[in-house]
Symmetry: C2
């Protein structure tokens, strides 16, 4: 079985934005409301950040439950890793996820600025500079035969789509508009020349878009 | 995290039958057409019995992909295990699945007739007699902290539902009628007093019904 590059649980607004403008430490989604984007996931039993028991086990839960299923590594852009831009001022910032990040695999952070690798619990972050195809090869080598998750943000997903390296995409359309910020697409039809598409409305109000290669 | 008892990828006809009459070696679903019941699953990339590469990676694939996800044991009725009824004539019959069964965990087969355990590849079949709650405890003990799949057939699912031991059910309604045989229910509303329900039509023509406890 070949290793896939998979986008999973990637949330955009109805007008195609993955994050708003003005990302800061306090506002990882910029001017976009994080609750409006993520409440569908936070309600599920398998949401990786859940601390209390309970949660729904319907359609949305199949998607949060699949987050680590056969995934051996993640690639993310540095704008997903944190709000710092340019050179690393110090190495105190270790991501949004606290002492036990939900990835539990090697994570490759794309950046032009070198930084040593570090480990938090079961997750090791590596900082890499290279063409998408090179970084993907590094991640596949580290994934122990499993698939690689492409974690975002928007510019990273676009970059790998342009290089035609993405095998499957699960994009969640949340019932909000953002108007400005980082835009994934004009609409899902941007991709249907290259991908099959299942469009699945959820009782929670979001729509799950599932793309796989033609 | 507590261990769940999960029904998964359990297919019934529009009129609620899981299998027709007259199960034989050649016809595991009796008079029901196996293709009409299972083609939605066979088309997916993650179908456990797939031998060639390819297959769809849309909505239906999330369900076949979840087949082994966090499952540590299966419980099945002897009518799922095979067409033999009554005492075991010999021990030549080893299930429908050939030398490499898709389960890859301990499997507990409910039967009043004793038979020694045996192993095929990564799957060990045990033959057990007992109340549903006792068998469930045996399966949980064997599942290494993971969930237990309740594999069917119809009478086994009904028996565990009556004992109120089932935590989640994924029932697939195929666009066929069978008219007679083993019936799971009059309709999904039989369960909605005890379970939440997401009803999700698939582009393939089946409807996925997802139940979880209230």
């Amino acid at each position: 079985m070949s290793q896939l590059l998979r986008v999973q649980n990637f949330v955009v607004s109805e007008d195609g934005f993955g994050a708003g403008e003005g990302q800061t430490l306090e506002r990882p989604f910029g001017n976009a409301d994080p609750a409006a984007m993520m409440s569908w996931a936070g309600a599920t039993a398998s949401w990786p950040n859940r601390v209390d028991p309970g949660g729904t086990r319907g359609l949305d839960d199949y998607f949060t439950r699949d987050f680590r299923n056969n995934i051996g590594a993640e690639i993310m852009g540095r704008n997903k890793f944190g709000p710092i831009r340019g050179d690393w001022i110090d190495h105190d910032w270790k991501g949004w996820w606290g002492e036990d990040p939900p990835f539990r695999t090697p994570v490759f952070v794309l950046t032009h600025f070198p930084r040593p690798s570090f480990t938090l619990s079961d997750t090791t972050f590596h900082f890499v500079n290279g063409e998408p195809s090179q970084v993907l090869q590094q991640a596949k080598d580290a994934a122990d035969g499993k698939d690689v998750r492409l974690g975002g943000g928007v510019m990273t997903v676009r970059q790998f789509l342009e290089a035609d390296l993405v095998d499957t995409l699960h994009v969640v359309v949340a019932p909000v508009t953002i108007d400005k910020g980082e835009r994934l697409w004009d609409g899902p039809e941007d991709l249907t020349d290259r991908y099959h598409l299942d469009s699945v409305p959820s009782p929670s109000g979001v729509t799950h878009l599932l793309f796989w290669r033609r």
